[in-house]
């Protein structure tokens, strides 16, 4: 295999594909590499940890068709460090020569046969507007769990809902739910899938580029065991989680007697300030809500205490509820618009954070019980 390619284009491709490569040891050494294949002027770079596969296609000047498996991290680091301009890859039996200008590197490669054989990506079944998907992912993925002890909660539920689709994630302490209008991208007969949050985090990284272009779309297809997203020359394929997502509907209280309406930035600023006193993840922020405003208080045994008053509209009984400040910030940040609404039942039932006028995004949060 031999090709020539612009340095920046190649760095992007190598880095993107490497995101799927596990930094921890894996079963096969070849999995710590990326598969680089030249076919005519089409260059394909693939990285995988068998759960997540990222495949990048770019244009290059093909000189000789073929493939090699290069050490992912090293190859990306080498190319990134080279002088700007054209970079040449030339692979032999078990070596790869990377050269540019007056630099020349020869690195050992893995056997191509040791790299898993991955199917060609399925053709897209539907196209989702990239901008709204990016927004929805930003709002929802943050609530997913990263605790491997509860594998189902490390996934994001994608389900048909009414005329659109709904994304739901929860780590059992908070739950984010977003409805997207438009046709469900799920194929006939599939009601819901559970996509690992990790894959969607990687997908988010790919999307900002597409977001600038308001007409850009993300291709999407679902198989029995996996799902593929396609955006900007990159195919991201992820294994789907197997199992039944918790029944989240029963968690949503039927109604809220108390409603706080407050400026989003003012609340966020105040939360971030009082959070400075939080030293461990069990220190909560208390919200004392009364007509006209809300007082935020953090009392940290060893450090000290802080309080801050924020103007707000409040309807309901005077009430104090405590939350993990980071969880609350996560929810408030995710709301679109200038104002947020915090709905509460009492100090131990789920609260909801949402925008004042619409509820296509809802963030349910369990309080912290303080004695």
């Amino acid at each position: 295999m031999k090709f020539r390619c612009e340095r920046d284009t190649l760095v992007d491709a190598l880095t993107t594909a490497s995101r799927a490569v596990s930094s921890r040891g894996s079963a096969s050494a070849a999995l710590s590499g990326v598969r680089v294949e030249a076919e005519g002027n089409r260059l394909t770079v693939v990285g995988t940890d068998l759960d997540l596969t990222v495949r990048v296609e770019i244009e290059a000047i093909g000189l000789d068709d073929g493939a090699c498996v290069a050490p992912a991290r090293l190859a990306a680091d080498i190319v990134r460090s080279l002088e700007p301009g054209a970079v040449t890859f030339d692979s032999g039996d078990d070596e790869l020569e990377i050269s540019a200008a007056r630099s020349r590197f020869v690195v050992r490669t893995y056997a191509v046969e040791d790299f898993p054989v991955l199917p060609e990506p399925r053709p897209d079944q539907v196209a989702i507007p990239a901008a709204s998907l990016a927004e929805a992912l930003r709002q929802v993925v943050r609530a997913a769990s990263n605790d491997d002890a509860r594998p189902l909660l490390t996934g994001v539920l994608v389900a048909g809902e009414g005329d659109g689709i709904r994304l739901v994630a929860t780590d059992s302490y908070r739950l984010a739910l977003r409805d997207l209008a438009g046709k469900s991208p799920l194929p006939e007969g599939t009601e819901q899938i559970l996509v690992p949050a990790r894959a969607l985090t990687e997908l988010q990284r790919l999307l900002p580029g597409a977001k600038d272009d308001s007409d850009a779309t993300v291709g999407f297809s679902v198989g029995d065991l996996d799902a593929t997203f396609a955006a900007a020359g990159v195919h991201l394929t992820t294994r789907l989680l197997d199992g039944k997502f918790p029944d989240y509907r029963q968690l949503i209280p039927p109604g809220y007697p108390n409603q706080l309406r407050v400026g989003k930035e003012a609340l966020l600023d105040a939360l971030r300030r009082v959070r400075l006193l939080v030293r461990d993840n069990t220190t909560p922020v208390r919200l004392s809500m009364r007509p006209g405003g809300v007082e935020l208080t953090v009392v940290s045994q060893e450090v000290g205490h802080a309080s801050e008053d924020v103007d707000a509209d409040y309807e309901g009984e005077e009430l104090t509820v405590a939350f993990n400040p980071s969880y609350l910030i996560d929810g408030v940040e995710a709301v679109l618009g200038d104002e947020v609404v915090l709905e509460t039942v009492d100090a131990t039932k789920p609260s909801t954070v949402r925008a004042p006028d619409h509820d296509d995004y809802r963030y349910l949060l369990m309080p912290v019980r303080v004695s």
């Binding site: 189902l152 199992g243 918790p246 029963q250 912290v368 019980r369 303080v370």
Partner: protein, 455 residues
């Protein structure tokens, strides 16, 4: 008289006033208590630690030591070496009563006491000198008082550091031989100037942190005594033993041990562990024991008003190899059911097929339970999730169980898992426990476990 330092220093030996650390260690404690209570055992080889062939020697008289028997030795080996010995299963209630009296004697001399075990403690007597005289004089007085109050002997080591005081008390012990037991010095003082000569003569295994594995490593480079160890460049030790361990041993070999005597140390963990009568190979069997231990750990956390974030499961296989697995949760736990769930998941991931000899459960990362602000979870509302049943319901159960037990005793109620043909089995006597209000019971599973608790 053991060769080495002066047993009792009279007058103003140089630096004697700096030797404010005392290590007091009862002689053959459990066995000595048995002899005290039954004078017919006087002069016989008495071994405490079980009448079966399972388990290890918890204590033995000097007459038994003459046959090469020592604590932590498997009972079956002891029986082979000295079949005529008297084997007793031990009366832990009686030992803790005597232990209470022992520590009471110590408290009369100084408030700065670091209890190490039922029969062993470090004292700092820096503030007691005006009242009771020089450290060696205090050591002698402690020894006389223990003898007077308990009718038992102890050995006292006096030095500037815990390391040397402990080694000195060992040097003060009686020495067993088949010809008869030779009385020890009772009190041994290691003066500052004598520290290195005293230390360097001892075998390297006498150092804290040198077990069989490290010992073998050191033996390979020709290190037999602590003096040999002191002569090895620290770099070499670091290369062989790793940075932390290597540097620590190098410092100990130079007699450097900065650890102060810490009174009222807060427990760092609360745990239970148990050696089984036969190795267990099946998860279900082990799980039952695990539930019982989680239940006992929870009961003690409740008593001490503590909760912990890190749950550790310890498994020792039949070949004595040891593994531990731990998990840290966001919100500190103290409930039996919750601890059991986490511990169960940890055990689930352990291969038990080779046969498990000892199982233990402990909680660390302890905080006062009252101050815990608890992040509530969706698991506590609604009907629960597929992978985790509704949890809030358990709060009520735990509270009721605690109330029932407070009134009717620990075995009045317990997890259904623990009901067998013989009824409900809760905490078992002989379980090794540590942490606050642990019924003090010897560590029957060998010295390597002591780091878990207070060592």
């Amino acid at each position: 008289m053991p060769d080495g330092p002066t047993p009792i220093v009279e007058g103003e030996a140089p630096g004697v006033d700096d030797c404010t650390v005392l290590h007091v260690d009862m002689d053959a404690f459990f066995a000595a208590v048995e002899v005290l209570d039954d004078p017919s055992l006087e002069g016989r080889a008495v071994i405490v630690g079980g009448t079966g062939n399972r388990g290890v020697v918890a204590a033995c008289t000097y007459e038994a030591r003459a046959y090469g028997i020592h604590s932590a030795m498997p009972i079956v080996v002891a029986r082979r070496r000295c079949p005529q010995a008297v084997f007793l299963s031990g009366r832990y209630g009686r030992y803790s009563e005597m232990s209470e009296r022992f520590h009471g004697v110590l408290r009369a001399f100084t408030p700065i006491i670091e209890p190490i075990a039922l029969d062993e403690a470090f004292l700092d007597v820096a503030g007691s000198r005006r009242l009771f005289g020089s450290p060696p004089a205090i050591a002698g007085a402690v020894r006389d008082q223990v003898r007077a109050d308990l009718g038992l002997h102890c050995a006292v080591g006096v030095a500037r550091s815990k390391l040397l005081a402990k080694l000195a008390s060992r040097a003060a012990k009686p020495v067993a031989s088949l010809e008869g037991t030779r009385q020890g010095a009772g009190v041994v003082v290691v003066l500052p100037a004598e520290e290195l000569p005293f230390l360097h003569r001892l075998p390297v295994g006498a150092l804290w942190g040198v077990g069989p594995a490290t010992g073998a490593q050191l033996d390979r480079i020709g290190v037999v005594t602590i003096g040999d160890l002191a002569a090895v460049p620290p770099d070499t030790l670091v290369r062989r033993l790793g940075t932390a361990h290597g540097l620590q041993l190098a410092a100990l070999a130079r007699g450097e041990d900065p650890r102060p005597v810490e009174a009222d140390r807060e427990a760092r963990s609360v745990g239970h562990e148990e050696t089984f009568a036969v190795d267990l190979h099946v998860q279900v069997d082990l799980h039952q024991h695990l539930v019982r231990m989680a239940d006992a750990v929870s009961a003690r956390l409740h008593e001490a008003d503590l909760a912990g974030r890190t749950i550790t499961v310890k498994v020792r296989y039949g070949d004595l190899s040891l593994i531990t697995r731990s998990h840290t949760v966001a919100t500190p736990l103290d409930a039996s059911h919750a601890i059991g769930l986490v511990a169960g998941a940890l055990l689930e991931a352990v291969d038990v097929a080779p046969g498990v000899r000892l199982l233990g459960v402990s909680l660390s990362g302890l905080v006062p339970a009252g101050t815990v602000a608890r992040q509530l979870s969706f698991d506590e509302v609604g009907t629960g999730t597929e992978d985790r049943p509704r949890r809030g319901a358990w709060d009520g159960v735990e509270a009721s169980v605690a109330a029932i037990r407070a009134r009717y005793g620990q075995s009045a109620v317990g997890p259904a898992t623990l009901v067998g043909p013989a009824g409900l089995t809760v905490k078992r006597r002989g379980d090794t426990q540590w942490g606050p209000r642990a019924e003090p019971v010897p560590d029957l599973s060998g010295p390597s476990d002591q780091h878990e608790g207070k060592a």
